[in-house]
Each structure stands twice: as structure tokens, then as C-alpha cells.
């Protein structure tokens, strides 16, 4: 069976709604299916990746550490829209540093996050076979 291009589009902030958490659950399960997986963080979706989340006082589970485990599941194409960050006064430094180890390059550690312009992201979306939206 041929491999399909799966894209998970994340546009919602974490904790205010459950979509970020449950989207991550699909991504983890989906990683076992050996498809060509990408994640896009657009609009408020970029807030899912901020450093230093501490949910103790709101009584919800802090699921942000899970993003750093994605590399271990071979989920390493994480597109972050540049314009979305800028509109929100954020830079890459405000986000977690997500990495993966490249088996084909002597396990070199590489960045998972690809900062892309809106136009570049439009091209990436256009190539997908299956787009899951949350």
C-alpha cells in the first residue's frame, strides 16, 4: 500500500478548548501507521508550542511536554506559520525547541520546527492527501 501524506492542522490555543490535546492523541496513534506525517500550526495554534506552560492552578493536565516526544515517533515535519507568530508578538525563541535524530545521518540531532511563510505553507497544504482539522 502506498504511503499517504497526512496533515494535522492545528489552529486553536491550548487549554481553552480540548482540540490541541486530542489532536496530539491522534498524532501519536497515527505515528504507528507509517504514513508521511506533517503538522501545521497556524493562527492561535502556535500558542500550543509555547515554553513554560504550567497548568497547576487551572487543574488541567499539562500536555506540552508531549510535543518534545514527537521526534521519537518520527514526527518531525512541524510547520509553524511565520506571520501567525509575528501577529502575536512571538518569535521562535518563545516556542519549545523540538528536535529529532536523523537515522540516515548518523543520528544527528535536527530541528523539527520549520518556520515557513504563509505562501510556503499554502504550497505544503496543497500537496496533502488527507487533512485532519481540529
Amino acid at each position: 500500500m502506498s504511503v499517504k501524506k497526512f496533515m494535522y492542522v492545528n489552529r486553536k490555543a491550548p487549554y481553552g478548548t480540548i482540540y490541541a490535546l486530542e489532536s496530539l492523541e491522534v498524532v501519536l496513534i497515527g505515528a504507528a501507521f507509517d504514513q508521511d506525517v506533517s503538522l501545521a500550526f497556524i493562527g492561535d495554534g502556535v500558542y500550543q508550542l509555547t515554553k513554560g506552560q504550567n497548568t497547576e492552578a487551572i487543574g488541567q493536565k499539562n500536555f506540552s511536554p508531549t510535543y518534545s516526544a514527537l521526534g521519537d515517533y518520527d514526527v518531525n515535519k512541524i510547520y509553524v506559520e511565520k506571520e501567525s507568530l509575528e501577529e502575536r508578538g512571538l518569535t521562535l525563541d518563545d516556542l519549545q525547541h523540538l528536535v529529532w535524530e536523523d537515522e540516515d545521518d548518523d543520528w544527528a540531532e535536527k530541528d523539527s520546527i520549520r518556520l515557513v511563510s504563509r505562501a510556503e505553507l499554502a504550497d505544503v497544504l496543497d500537496e496533502q492527501d488527507i487533512i485532519l482539522s481540529f
Binding site: 480540548i18 488541567q60 493536565k61
Partner: protein
């Protein structure tokens, strides 16, 4: 002060019920009277006893049930909204000819008049929703 709370969204999908719960707890701790917590729209889904969230997550329905028990809270679920969405107490289930009910401890099903009454009787009404 006498405060009432309205919850318009169900558990987990939106933070509304969490915030309403934390607010209610804080109001009680500060010595205020909670006249009523009214669950409307998808808020009625907070009243299920069949939820089994993961062990490392909170059980929102159970939190409300406990808070009600400890503080003798009046937690009212709108009957019309509950019927649309399948939240049933034993009496309603029987009346509707259903073979099961799912309401959790501490919640009671009643009419929208209870929300209006809460507005009339309370000094403040605070609405949580989406």
C-alpha cells in the same frame, strides 16, 4: 454575597466548566453563598455519572458532585436542554420509556424558571461558556 453561576458548555471540550468550578470553589472559600449553579446548553453534559477520564486527568463531573456534597450546593440541570442531549434522571428516564439514566450525584433536573429565579434571588449572576 449571594452569587449564582450559569454553565453553558460541557466538560473537557471547553474550559468553561473548569473555570466555573474554580470560581465557585473560591467564592465559597471567601464566605459567599452560592445560591445555585445552573447548567444550560451543552452545560448539561457536566451532569453525567458515566464519565471515566484518564487517571492523570481531572473528573469534572465528579469534582462538581463532591463540591455540591461538601457545600450543600444546589446544582440544577435544564430539563429541556438535558432531554435534547440525553442527560436523564431515573424519573425522567422512566417517563420517557428509556432503559437507563445517567445523572450524577448532586445534580437535579428542573426547568428554566430556576435560572430566572437564581437571577432574581442572587446579588450576582456569572455566566461561563464559549
Amino acid at each position: 454575597m449571594k452569587i449564582s453561576i450559569q454553565v453553558n458548555e460541557g466538560p473537557y471540550q471547553h474550559e468553561a466548566s473548569d473555570t466555573a468550578y474554580q470560581f465557585t470553589k473560591a467564592a465559597l472559600a471567601a464566605g459567599h453563598e452560592i445560591f445555585r449553579v445552573f447548567f444550560y446548553h451543552d452545560g448539561v453534559n457536566n451532569a453525567t455519572r458515566l464519565a471515566v477520564p484518564p487517571q492523570d486527568d481531572r473528573n469534572i463531573s465528579a469534582q462538581w458532585s463532591e463540591l455540591a456534597k461538601e457545600n450543600n450546593l444546589d446544582m440544577v440541570v435544564c430539563i429541556a436542554a438535558a432531554q435534547r442531549r440525553g442527560i436523564m434522571d431515573p424519573d425522567e428516564a422512566k417517563r420517557q420509556g428509556l432503559d437507563a439514566d445517567n445523572i450524577a450525584e448532586g445534580f437535579r433536573i428542573s426547568g428554566l424558571g430556576q435560572l430566572i429565579e437564581a437571577g432574581i434571588e442572587s446579588d450576582r449572576l456569572v455566566v461561563f461558556g464559549d
